[in-house]
């Protein structure tokens, strides 16, 4: 919210400076986004009165004759340029909006300056017409800066819990609690004992719990006085006319939106109801809207007929808006159901100053005071006569008392604030403090956020200042069920560190996936899609990590042409199973390029390297790890394996399918991906045997297509319990072997934990191996 310093200072006269204000507000919980200085008006901009406005034939322009202390002639294209209004006139030499005003000849007429729009003067956004003042606002020729000195505006962040602070008075009350004197505006209202010529019916009290209508007549609609226009510009609003400006001014003062209806367009009065299906309304912004049956509307009525004249709490209708010839108004000041307003504002994509406040809530007791304040200003500034009565429907709900224990406040805060100090703070905030132990504290009705004892505790701390709360560290033993909960996290951290130690570089990629791209990666469509994606490429959630790694590689190749890469990512992937989202943590790795070796010699890379790295990883983790051939659609059909860890299927390892690579214009790449968390093996110490090893070598000739794992498995099984280890040391094909066969040669180590193995025992084990090999139809070589 924009807070003009001078405006707030009217209510808090002791305010020192904008800088001090910023600091105070920060301590109260209102952060200033930025500080703006406006109304830097050059001295050559003066107040002038338009004496004469005549069209220049054949153009859209007018020749204006102005009284600016002397008579000045200028050319203006503004639609609202007319005799009888006051304007801001930039005389030659003035610099406005980054341009220097000079004397110019326009369409054969010499313009001795320029009549300015709010935008040209730099006080507002509006550039569609002249800034319009009452013609007697100032003596002609007075530099405008004398009436409109520079203003400092704080742009405040007001959190949704403090709708009261969306009015300057709300901030003033908070500052008052800090010790500043408060000067609330006085209402000086003289009313007339006249009957109110319209009725009020609220058909939907849930939508409008409290609704009031004031009556003002004999109005003279015209431009607002300079101070009011300045206040609105400073607050970021555009002055329209005195009547409309007053409603906005009071809203900015009290956070209570209001709306003035031209009485001529209401029929017999106002009816508050939900919209009928298909009902239409042209709102003030000129948009013709089809209403939704849930929208709350303000309608005029005649007998049983009614017709919408406003979208309640959001925007008034165009037809009934106040215009120059409006003489009498019904002034609506109400409290609406915040949720209803929020839904309507969303439905019509129409967020206004009014809806913004109503959806956060207004002071339930604030309607009548706001009526009186607005009516008094109408009387003072628009010549209005005001009826004595105010129509009222519904019962405002007053705030309820809250039990409050000062010692609880200290217990929650860890402070030792004296009881008297705490109660004094609550009183300064406008609370009514009654009773004792616990106290009954009734907050002021504008403070919708105060409903619990904890809310009052925050008030005490907020006004004392959070800096007065000491520092402490709690000492306690956690409840037993919390012990060890951090173990899975620690394990994953260590896994990442192991991978980094093995030479893998960690990368992070987005959790999103492009559903269009799934076929490109030969993947199924991702089942989880976003309702509101930022872009089509991020419209779904990923099911695998490896596509992200491939993209990372592609970008790096395009930019930096690395000769090789070894990447990993640990991250979440998302599936749906039986209608339930299954979120899993995956680990994926990628290998590309020349691999390892001497820079000037032969290199090892590809599948064997990546598999070797995984074997090292699993050896370090103490987990059994196997790969068996299994075709995955996105992997090269001949280099595609399923990963088993401790007998559990965990993922895949292989070369990326050439078609996927071609689609991405990538060279050959090897990847793996597996599901975490990995199992943890219970540790059991084994005393290493001190007895001698028996070493044997063995070569087995098997058909070419036989997987290594099968051979290894058979040997291990046949060797019996004393085979300590077995290591492949040669793989051979070619003469003198039969075509279509290969020879696998192993070193075998036998050992017994408690005694020396005899030659006979080892020979017996070897004999069992020979027999098993032959039974399988394989041969022993040599």
């Amino acid at each position: 919210m924009r807070v003009p310093f001078s405006w707030l200072k009217e209510y808090v006269p002791e305010l020192e400076s904008p800088e001090v204000l910023e600091e105070r507000l920060a301590g109260l919980g209102f952060e200033t986004d930025r500080i703006e200085r406006i109304f830097r008006i050059p001295k050559e901009v003066v107040f002038a009165r338009v004496l004469e406005a005549s069209p220049i034939p054949g153009t859209g322009l007018k020749r204006l004759v102005l009284d600016a202390g002397r008579v000045v002639e200028v050319v203006s294209g503004a639609g609202n340029a007319r005799a009888g209004i006051g304007v801001a006139l930039a005389l030659p030499g003035a610099e406005v909006g980054g341009m220097r005003i000079g004397e110019r000849r326009i369409q054969g007429v010499v313009s001795h300056g320029m009549a300015l729009s709010p935008k040209e003067l730099g006080v507002g956004e509006y550039g569609g017409g002249l800034l319009e003042f009452p013609q007697d606002a100032l003596p002609p020729g007075t530099p405008l800066a004398e009436a409109w000195p520079e203003e400092v505006v704080l742009d405040l962040e007001v959190t949704p819990n403090r709708p009261d602070a969306l009015g300057l008075l709300g901030l003033a009350y908070d500052l008052h609690a800090l010790g500043y004197a408060l000067k609330a505006p006085e209402v000086d209202l003289r009313t007339e004992a006249v009957p109110i010529p319209f009725g009020l019916r609220v058909e939907d009290p849930e939508g409008a719990p409290h609704f009031t209508l004031g009556y003002a007549f004999g109005l003279r609609v015209g431009p607002s006085p300079l101070w009011l226009q300045r206040a609105l510009f400073a607050a970021g609003m555009r002055p329209i006319s005195n009547v409309v400006d007053i409603t906005n001014y009071v809203m900015l003062e009290r956070a209570q939106p209001m709306h003035a209806f031209d009485l001529r367009f209401l029929g017999e009065g106002i009816l508050v109801r939900r919209a009928r299906p298909g009902e239409r309304l042209r709102t003030l912004d000129g948009v013709e809207r089809t209403l939704h049956p849930e929208d709350l509307v303000i309608a005029g009525y005649r007998g049983e007929e009614s017709f919408p004249v406003g979208l309640a709490g959001v925007m008034g209708g165009a037809e009934s808006e106040v215009r120059e010839d409006t003489e009498a108004i019904a002034l609506e000041v109400a409290q609406f159901d915040p949720i209803s307003i929020r839904k309507t504002a969303r439905r019509h994509a129409l967020r206004t100053e009014a809806s913004y406040r109503f959806e956060r809530g207004v002071d339930p007791l604030g309607q009548i005071p706001a009526q009186r304040r607005a009516l008094s200003l109408l009387q003072a500034l628009a010549g209005a006569k005001v009826a004595e009565g105010i129509l009222e429907a519904g019962n405002p709900t007053p705030p309820k008392p809250i039990p409050f224990r000062p010692d609880y406040a200290n217990r929650l805060l860890g402070t030792a604030y004296p009881e008297g100090e705490q109660l004094a703070i609550l009183k300064r905030l406008g609370c009514l403090v009654e009773g004792e132990g616990p106290y009954q504290v009734t907050p002021p009705s504008r403070r919708l956020d105060l409903t619990l004892e904890e809310d009052l505790v925050e008030e005490v701390a907020r006004i004392q200042g959070y800096e007065t709360i000491p520092l402490a560290l709690p000492a306690f033993f956690p409840a037993p069920d919390n012990r060890g909960v951090g173990r899975p996290y620690q394990k994953e951290r260590r896994l990442r560190e192991l991978l980094a130690g093995l030479g893998f570089q960690e990368v992070y990629t987005y959790s999103f996936a492009d559903p269009e791209e799934a076929p490109r990666f030969r993947l199924f469509l991702p089942p989880l899609r976003l309702l509101n994606p930022l872009s089509p490429e991020r419209a779904a959630l990923r099911t695998h990590l490896f596509p992200g790694l491939l993209k990372v590689l592609k970008e790096n190749l395009a930019l930096d042409k690395p000769e090789r890469a070894l990447l990993f990512e640990v991250g979440r992937v998302y599936r749906v199973e039986g209608g339930v989202v299954r979120e899993e943590t995956h680990l994926a790795g990628l290998l590309f390029g020349e691999g390892v070796g001497l820079p000037f010699g032969e290199k090892l890379s590809g599948y064997p390297l990546l598999k070797g790295l995984l074997e090292t990883l699993f050896a370090r983790l103490g987990l059994a790890f196997q790969v068996e051939a299994h075709p995955y659609p996105f992997l090269h059909p001949g280099v595609s394996g399923r990963l088993w860890v401790e007998g559990e299927e965990r993922g895949f390892l292989g070369e990326v399918h050439p078609e996927v690579l071609r689609g991405l214009e990538l060279p050959r790449v090897w990847v793996f991906e597996l599901r975490l968390p990995l199992p943890e093996k219970a540790f059991r110490f084994q005393d290493p045997s001190r007895y001698p090893l028996a070493l044997r070598d063995l070569a087995v000739v098997v058909p070419e297509a036989t997987p290594y794992a099968e051979v290894e498995g058979l040997l291990k099984e046949a060797a019996g319990p004393h085979l300590e280890s077995l290591a492949l040391f040669d793989l051979y094909q070619g003469a003198p072997l039969k075509p279509g066969t290969k020879s696998l040669a192993f070193h075998l180590r036998f050992r017994h934990p408690e005694r020396t193995l005899t030659d006979e025992e080892v020979d017996a084990a070897m004999a069992r191996i020979f027999q098993a090999v032959r039974e399988r139809g394989w041969e022993i070589r040599g």
Binding site: L412, L541, E583
Partner: protein, 351 residues
């Protein structure tokens, strides 16, 4: 004696251990000249035998010594030659293995988690796809409340359910969690106080990306619940964080702010001595009574006894990217998901 001179010269000039062996055999071998001469002594008269024997022994010793010396010389030369032959250019690069590294966010997160682990906190993680029940409702952010505007949210298509705190199926519209705070609810439902936890994790905001904003980023949530936990304890925790991150000159500043799931609520800043400025790091506060009530209500649904009556707690949350950017001098948040190795490889020195 002339023979001796010749023999010694031959030994001295022997070119190899092989040649030396031959010489040794010629003079001292079983049928060597000296051996033969010694055998012949037996036929000489005693006096002469004695004299001649001494001569021959001296001769034998001289030869043996010469052989030994020469052998040593030759061995030394051979070793020297071998060492010379095996000389390497030690400045040549070795076998090129890979050098890996961790992502800077992992590094920053690890540092933060370690700070809190030293204070007795355990690190736990929660799901990224979340139900609005845990992301909003249970955190006192009901539907249609303007407070929901504080979190721009990615919503998911489809009427799926997510696993709840104890693996049960949880209802509610699905979204990508906008903060790590839903883990407050999940953790409390599944555990009993007192405890201290931190929750690092990835969060999502429906937000266009620029140099300082990312739609996907990382937070660290803290939650301490027990009897008598105070706001002073919260300030102490953040103070410890500040001191651990930036040393004894670091200070903390707390200001009131609104988060629906804490009361009193605060935002906190840390005085960064090196940069000489306050860093607004995150939000914090005392756990809102409505959050405790929502937790106990959910526990009841699961058949668990209430566990959060009469306890208090504090929670805080902070962004990891921001701290990493300051720690490492990274100018643009987009680097983190950029995947560029030239960026990532720079963090390898951080152990």
């Amino acid at each position: 004696m002339r023979e001796l001179e010749e023999a010694l010269a031959a030994i001295r000039e022997a070119e190899s251990l092989e040649a030396l062996k031959t010489l040794k055999a010629r003079y001292l071998g079983k049928k060597g000249l000296v051996t033969e001469a010694l055998k012949a002594l037996a036929h000489l008269p005693l006096e002469e035998r004695k004299r001649r024997g001494q001569e021959l022994n001296a001769l034998k010793e001289a030869l043996e010594k010469a052989l030994e010396d020469r052998a040593r010389e030759l061995e030394e030369a051979a070793l020297k030659e071998a060492l010379e032959r095996e000389r390497l250019d030690v400045s040549l690069p070795g076998v090129r293995l890979f050098s890996g590294g961790l992502h800077p966010i992992t590094l920053m997160e690890r540092e933060l988690v370690a700070i809190f682990q030293a204070l007795g906190y355990e690190a736990v993680e929660g799901p990224e796809v979340e139900s609005e029940r845990f992301n909003f409702d249970a955190l006192n952010i009901p539907e249609h409340h303007p407070a929901r505007d504080m979190w721009d949210t990615f919503w998911l298509e489809g009427a799926y359910r997510v696993p709840g705190p104890l693996g049960e199926e949880a209802e509610g519209k699905l979204l990508l969690r906008t903060h790590t705070s839903p883990m407050q609810v999940r953790y409390m439902v599944a555990h009993t106080p007192p405890f201290r936890i931190v929750v690092p994790g990835r969060v999502f905001r429906f937000e266009q990306t620029d140099a300082t904003h990312e739609a996907v980023f990382h937070q660290l949530e803290g939650l301490v619940v027990g009897e008598g936990i105070t706001m002073a304890d919260l300030k102490g925790a953040i103070f410890e964080l500040a001191q651990a991150l930036y040393g004894p000159e670091a200070r903390v500043r707390f200001q009131p702010v609104y988060f629906p799931f804490v009361e009193p609520g605060a935002q906190f800043a840390i005085w960064w001595p090196e940069g000489r400025k306050w860093l607004e790091l995150g939000g914090a506060g005392m756990v809102h009574p409505k959050v405790f009530q929502a937790v106990d209500a959910y526990r009841k649904r699961l058949g668990l006894p209430p566990a959060y009556e009469g306890v208090t707690g504090f929670a805080f949350g902070l962004g990891i990217e921001r701290l990493a950017m300051l720690r490492f001098g990274i100018p643009d948040i987009r680097y983190f998901f950029g995947g560029r190795l030239k960026f990532l490889e720079q963090f390898r020195g951080i152990l």
